[in-house]
């Protein structure tokens, strides 16, 4: 119960605070809240926009969630995502692929492989060299973005792309289409399926359980002889593969070629999604849809109220801080708290927990 109530409360407070901050820009908070809801979930058009954004968010969040279950804080999903998109475009450019489903599967696998290897490197560096994976994964993300820009503006550039350097556009047959009767592409289905599979893997299989043991109690894992190193690298590789897949899907379904538009911050938003879902792959799905909705509503806020495009980033930042802070309330014994409150109705502030 608390797993749901605390994040929902945190989001509610974040929305209140956000409304308060934007009211300084001379905008009515109520209008902002209404537009946020309308832009995200108001009608079928908004829903399509929301779901399109949710697809890469889910996969990028898995890049945080799966390593987190093995006890790692990996925040370099953006790098894996970008490289995944690049690998997808590069494979289609270098090898003549069949313009049909097998070709699409091949480019998606290329993206997943590139992302998986990239994040596995961060896990490997931690296990073999003792390097903090949070720092190394983020540095690797900057390296990946540099490589991406170098290759897209250099060797892999399509000479026809003048103002906006891009790789050659993917063949029509390789693209990921939309689900019948909507603008939402099949990437959403892939994202949901991967989240479900990841959740089932962690819950039901021996290797998934072993990963959770390594993350939950490294000492116990060592005592029962689990191959911790292999499991940690595996968890990183799977997480990275999810983010790489996200990049490949973005290229194959949205951008049709690898270009700078791919560097849109999904990797960073994925961190927030994963933390709010408490690193549960199944919980990632609704949280990703919620934040996809905020992203979709952002352009509406910009158009209708003239708010800066960064207002969504601000909302995300506030939400993230409050979600983490709400963890402090997890141990509060609410019944005792309310009992105390009703017994002494007017006497001073509520008792504060002893600071550790």
């Amino acid at each position: 119960m608390r797993n749901v109530l605390l994040p929902v409360g945190a989001i509610a407070v974040a929305l209140l605070l956000f409304g308060f901050i934007v009211s300084f820009a001379g905008v009515s908070p109520v209008e902002v809240w209404v537009l946020l809801f309308k832009g995200a979930f108001g009608d079928w058009y908004s829903w399509q926009n929301t779901l399109q954004r949710a697809a890469p968010l889910m996969l990028a969040a898995l890049c945080v969630a799966i390593p987190a279950r093995a006890g790692l804080v990996v925040i370099g999903g953006e790098g894996a995502l970008v490289l995944g998109g690049l690998a997808c475009a590069a494979l289609a450019h270098a090898v003549p692929l069949p313009s049909s489903l097998p070709g699409t599967v091949a480019i998606c696998m290329a993206g997943a492989l590139a992302g998986g290897l990239w994040v596995a490197l961060a896990g490997w560096l931690r296990q073999y060299r003792g390097i903090n994976e949070t720092i190394s994964s983020l540095l690797l993300a900057y390296v990946a973005i540099g490589l991406f820009k170098h290759l897209v503006e250099g060797p892999l550039r399509d000479p026809a792309s003048l103002n906006k350097p891009s790789t050659p556009a993917l063949d029509e047959g390789l693209l990921i289409g939309t689900i019948a009767g909507s603008d939402v592409h099949w990437g959403l289905v892939i994202g949901v399926v991967v989240c479900v599979v990841a959740g089932l893997w962690l819950r039901l299989t021996p290797s998934g359980f072993a990963v959770r043991v390594v993350g939950g109690n490294p000492r116990a894992a060592q005592l029962v002889g689990l191959p911790a190193t292999r499991l940690v690298v595996l968890a990183c590789a799977l997480g990275g593969a999810a983010a790489g897949l996200a990049g490949a899907i973005e290229v194959a379904a949205v951008h049709t070629s690898a270009n700078a538009a791919l560097i849109a911050g999904y990797g960073y938003a994925g961190i927030l999604v994963s933390f709010m879902a408490r690193h549960h792959p199944l919980a990632v799905i609704p949280v990703a849809i919620l934040f996809g909705g905020f992203g979709a509503a952002g352009s509406l806020l910009q158009r209708r109220l003239g708010l800066p495009d960064a207002s969504v980033l601000l909302l995300q930042g506030i939400a993230f801080v409050l979600i983490l802070a709400s963890e402090a309330l997890r141990d509060t014994d609410w019944k005792a708290w309310f009992a105390k409150l009703t017994r002494v109705p007017s006497d001073g502030p509520a008792p504060q927990g002893e600071k550790a």
């Binding site: 390097i131 540095l139 900057y142 930042g317």
Partner: protein, 306 residues
Amino acid sequence: MTADQLIIFLSGIVGGALRVGVPFLFVSLGECLTEKSGRINLGLEGVLVLSAMTAFGASYLSGSPWLGVLAGAVAGALLATLHGLLCSLPRVNDVATGIALMLLGMGLAFYLGKPLIQPQAPQLPALSLGGWSDSPAVRSALEVNALLPLGLLMAVLLWWAFANTRLGLLVRLAGDSANATRALGYSVSGIRIAATAAGGFIAGLGGASLTLFYPGSWNEGISSGQGLIAVALVIFARWSPLRCVGAALLFGGAGAIGPALQSVGIGWGYHLFNIVPYVLTLLILVITCRPGVVVPGSPGELSSTR
């Protein structure tokens, strides 16, 4: 490469080290102080961006770059205080909070800084140290940031204070053994919040030097991970403020290779040379870290090195 080009290239590197290294210096000193108290602040990236925006805005509105510097430092201290307070709550992890503050700092800065992208704010004066040379390239390379002497002074001061003052000892005590600190009757949280806030103040000076000296304008790509590189840089400097100076200049120089090559007409691989600092950081981490062994000089309570 002719001798002239070599001079231009080398002075480009030295000038870059001095120019790009100054923000690195302040952020790494701030991180060093924070980590000495036993806490890691990944949110310094957010602190850097927010203070860069605040400094630029304050300088633009007040007309005085020095007021801008002060405003930037105060903004940095405020955001870092938030980090310190949040981390003192039970069950709140400092690494995760740092990531959240990185997002929050960037969100606040981009949101409030939107109207500041166009205008030009009064800049900090430059100190000309290159008067002895005839070469214009050397002269322009040695136009150094007026905040550089302050940074060097601060490094020495921090080094001296850690070794010789009661306050410095308290910070190190909180960083090495929380239990010993409690036993002596001091508040571990209090010391850490104060150290984090002071670290944010120092890092804020780095943000100010970004928008008020080099590159000297505000945009949303003003900091690309300098705040995080600083975390690795502190490990490289083994938590010594004096070694932070050398490390910061080294990283500034590494970041200047791309632009320096461009200035002699080699445009190839611009983005590749821009990733040199990140690769260098990773290499340094590979060399200095050992699995299962605590890095020498690291504060005992630090979560990132265990």
